[in-house]
């Protein structure tokens, strides 16, 4: 493994733009791709896993599926359910695809995010190689750590623009004892009201999905809590196997809503934002806080609508990226971003333009 590190270092020290890449499952995400590919998959393997410490450490190129199976064997999970994209482990097969380094760099979370927290919430530490080829350790393998600025969470979701992630440590959680999936016929406004109402009560909500006047709800937690909630909420109970497939397909965006070439927009808004009057079909997750939109929409109108309710819109898949993928930042914020980029990547090596053209 040390020769891999040396190889990475020498590539970085050439000071030419590099496109950091794991399994390539998220090539579609973010700004246009540029630079020569630096493949992390050779730098793979779980370095440490202590179920009773609730911590796992793995090299960046480790397949996400491999990490998840190691956890599953000890009845533990990544609670934020990061999407793989491109290769869900359907049928329990590990087929390569998404790596843990790529998942952390992309910072995406799945259906349970609104309740369980985001991937960033579970990052405890990273080993990073910066633009000078230096190996830097931030955070660590313990759950509470305030020594030094929290750079490991800063690089989560930075789309590889601050450095090459070599290793990550994540907090893991026990597999919920019991799960149940309920289905309700409901128009969007009533579904949003219901979700926000339940969110303020001690109901063991785990995930939600509204689409086409159907609200699907997942509950998880202690057996007693799930049973009590099922009785309280009513609705139609979905069979276990069908429910499991449904939530994986949602996470992996393989359901009918996501299939096809129409641009896919992601609107991240306060959960209490009213139904957004925009052309195209919508699918709503995260208790109302994540709204997907399919269709060729007017970008300005879309961004303004999101901003008006206190959120932001990004072009998630497909479409025309020339208008920018992510919502723009205020000049003062962009200045801080530029300085951070400059200090970790002074020669502009890492994924230039993947997050913002300026970085």
């Amino acid at each position: 493994m040390t020769d891999r590190i040396e190889e990475f270092r020498s590539r970085i020290l050439e000071r030419k733009p590099l496109r950091l890449r794991g399994g390539g499952s998220k090539d579609f995400y973010g700004g246009p791709l540029s630079g020569d590919v630096l493949d992390t998959r050779g730098y793979s393997g779980i370095v440490g896993y202590e179920p009773t410490e609730l911590v796992i450490t793995a090299r960046a190129g480790t397949p996400l599926a491999e990490l998840e199976s190691a956890l599953a064997a000890r009845r533990q999970v990544l609670a934020c359910e990061p999407p793989h994209f491109g290769n869900a482990t359907i049928g329990g097969e590990i087929t390569g695809g998404a790596t843990i380094g790529g998942a952390v760099a992309a910072g995406l979370s799945g259906p349970r995010r609104a309740v369980a927290g985001s991937l960033r919430d579970y990052v405890l530490g990273v080993k990073l190689m910066d633009g000078e080829g230096r190996e830097l350790n931030f955070g660590g393998q313990v759950m509470k750590n305030v020594a030094g600025f929290d750079v490991s969470r800063l690089v989560t979701g930075s789309l590889g623009t601050l450095g090459l992630i070599l290793e990550v440590s994540l907090k893991v959680m026990p597999l919920p004892v019991a799960q149940a999936t309920l289905r309700f016929e409901m128009p969007q406004d009533r579904a949003l009201d219901a979700l926000n109402g339940w969110g303020g009560q001690p109901v063991p909500l785990a995930a939600s999905c509204w689409q086409g006047d159907v609200l699907t709800l997942r509950l998880s937690g202690a057996q007693a809590a799930v049973t009590a909630a099922c009785e309280k909420l009513g609705g139609e109970r979905v069979a276990e196997a069908e429910a499991a497939d449904f939530w994986i397909a949602l996470r992996e965006q393989t359901t009918a809503f996501f299939v096809g070439d129409a641009p896919l927009w992601r609107l991240s808004v306060p959960s209490v934002a009213p139904p957004l009057d925009l052309p195209g079909a919508q699918l709503i997750e995260w208790g109302g806080a994540q709204r997907w939109l399919r269709g060729a929409v007017d970008v300005t109108q879309l961004r303004e609508t999101a901003a008006r309710v206190g959120g932001h819109a990004s072009l998630f898949r497909g479409g025309d990226k020339t208008g920018g993928v992510f919502a723009s930042l205020s000049p003062a914020l962009m200045e801080v971003h530029r300085r951070l980029k400059q200090s970790f990547d002074p020669y502009g090596v890492f994924n230039p333009g993947r997050l913002y053209p300026e970085l």
Binding site: E50, T52, E53, L54, R75, G117, R120, D121, D130, R134, L136, N137, F138, G140, Q141, V142, M143, K144, N145, V146, A147, G148, F149, D150, V151, R153, L154, S158, L162, M173, P174, V177, G200, Q201, P202, P204, A222, A225, T227, A228, S268, V269, P270, V272, W286, Q290, G310, G311, H312, F326, S328, L329, S330, A332, L333, H337, L340, S343, F344, L355
Partner: protein, 489 residues
């Protein structure tokens, strides 16, 4: 606590012309009552909860609105005068210790809760609002603010953000980091930025992660939106006692291995238990080597199920006594001791230093054994309070500052404990921050290059290094001095 003045600079240099010019500039942007500069008025600000270090600033500014904060920052920026933000001053690492020839910017007047949105489950508050005041204000809606530092009646949300404070319920509900949605922040040059949003994420780098735990070095928090959590229907706590720390540690591991994340999981050693029992009379087992408190919360059914499982596991792992709280009053009584551990220890010793390392839990008995050895070596008693669920250990080193050399001995003992935490794969601080107290031990935990990266992060927000300078991140020369004394690895 009566403690010696450890740092220089307690003498006020009133004659300094730079100070006079600064005062004149500040007087133009602040009402007279919002500026303190007489020695007797500055005195209450000379230290925070880490009383071993004191310094008098030139000025204390008490602005009451955003414009005044921005104006103070601009004046100081233009004059290159350092600024130290201050909340309630309960910090335990010297984060709010004044910088000599600097300004203390107190947010004490920012006490308003600006908005409570029960449906969205959030509250927008000013930085000087006390942690507990938020929970009190939102209680009528069946909600509360989850992070509960033991200092919650006094400490402010601005201070909590700066330290990423935790509490006994953070294992299940997260730290400050997991419970803040949005911040409005004034940068040192007076520019105001917004970080985070009322949605679940915002575009760009996760600057929220940097701000939380930044020890007042990146920006001044003007406003925070925090997440509110539905109050669980009920909660119960099991109190178990053990003949050895090893058994107690095994019991903790067994609970986690069984797939339970308790609402609270706390341990106290014999000395700590004795101190708190004497203070709160909770009925702790005084003969035990360690006491464990394990809490479950949720629906009535859920709690019953979890308490039964945990009780069985505690018994299987050798609990000598087991008591389950039978009422809310009893539950609070069991917790009262743990929550009052610091002041309780404060009663049995003239002075104490509170350490804050986090260790992988499996090394607990090794670390406690080593601390006991060090205690003998340094002739100082040490009680241990432990956030057992997440490995955050608070050894409380007892000393008497009136005895010559004892403060230095306590500090040296503390340094050894921090190094020990790093040696076993942990960290020098879990929730109290580095401040000035542990700045040298940062040299043990981080390489020169990593420290340079931290300085660069600071410079991205504060290029002139004026906001709380000299705290948290050491300069290379500090490290070479520290290594020369032979204390570091």
């Amino acid at each position: 606590m009566s403690q010696p003045e450890h740092s220089a600079g307690t003498v006020q240099d009133t004659a300094n012309p730079d100070r006079e010019a600064l005062l004149a500039d500040l007087a133009r942007v602040l009402p007279a009552a919002a500026l303190l500069f007489a020695a007797e008025d500055l005195k209450p600000y000379e230290c925070d909860g880490l009383t071993a270090y004191r310094a008098l600033p030139w000025v204390v500014a008490l602005p009451q609105n955003d414009e005044q904060v921005v104006a103070v920052l601009k004046v100081c920026h233009a004059r290159h005068v350092p600024v130290v933000a201050r909340g309630a001053g309960t910090g335990l690492s010297g984060g709010a210790t004044p910088v000599v020839q600097g300004v203390v910017l107190s947010l004490a007047k920012f006490m308003r809760i600006l908005e409570i949105d029960p449906l969205a489950r959030l509250a927008r508050v000013q930085p000087g609002v006390r942690n507990q005041a938020i929970s009190e204000a939102v209680a009528p809606f069946g909600l509360y603010y989850a992070p509960d530092p033991s200092s919650q009646i006094a400490c402010t949300i601005g201070g909590n953000v700066a330290e990423n404070s935790g509490g006994v319920h953070c294992l299940k509900y997260g730290l400050t980091l997991h419970n803040v949605l949005k911040l409005r922040v004034a940068l040192m040059n007076g520019e105001v930025i917004e970080i985070g949003s009322h949605a679940l994420d915002d575009p760009g780098y996760d600057l929220m992660a940097l701000m939380i735990g930044s020890e007042g070095m990146l920006g001044v928090v003007l406003e925070a939106t925090v997440k509110l959590t539905p109050k669980p229907r009920t909660a119960q706590v099991v109190m178990a006692s053990f003949d050895s720390v090893i058994e107690a540690g095994n019991a903790v591991a067994a609970i986690i291995a069984a797939g339970i994340i308790p609402a609270g999981l706390e341990m106290m050693d014999k000395l700590a238990t004795a101190a708190v029992e004497d203070f709160v009379h909770a009925g702790y087992d005084l003969a035990a080597a360690a006491i464990l408190l394990a809490e479950s919360d949720g629906t009535v059914e859920e709690v019953a199920e979890e308490i039964t499982t945990m009780s069985t596991l505690l018994e299987q792992n050798g609990a000598r006594q087991l008591r389950i709280s039978q009422s809310e009053a009893e539950r609070l009584k069991y917790w009262a001791g743990r929550k009052a551990a610091f002041p309780a220890v404060g009663r049995i010793t003239p002075d104490y230093l509170c350490m804050d390392g986090t260790i992988p839990r499996k090394h607990l008995s090794h670390v406690l054994t080593r601390i006991a050895e060090l205690s003998t070596e340094y002739h100082l008693r040490c009680a241990n309070v432990f956030h057992a669920g997440d490995g955050n250990l608070h050894p409380l080193i007892m000393f008497d500052a009136r005895n010559p050399g004892e403060t230095e001995r306590a500090i040296a003992f503390g340094a050894k404990i921090l190094e020990l935490s790093v040696d076993v794969g942990g960290t020098i601080t879990g929730e109290h921050g580095v401040g000035i107290e542990k700045v040298k031990q940062m040299c043990v935990q981080f390489s020169r290059e990593e420290l340079e990266a931290f300085h660069a992060v600071k410079a991205a927000f504060d290029p002139l290094t004026l906001l709380n300078p000299g705290k948290a991140v050491p300069y290379p020369r500090h490290c070479s001095e520290y290594r020369l004394t032979g204390s570091a690895r």
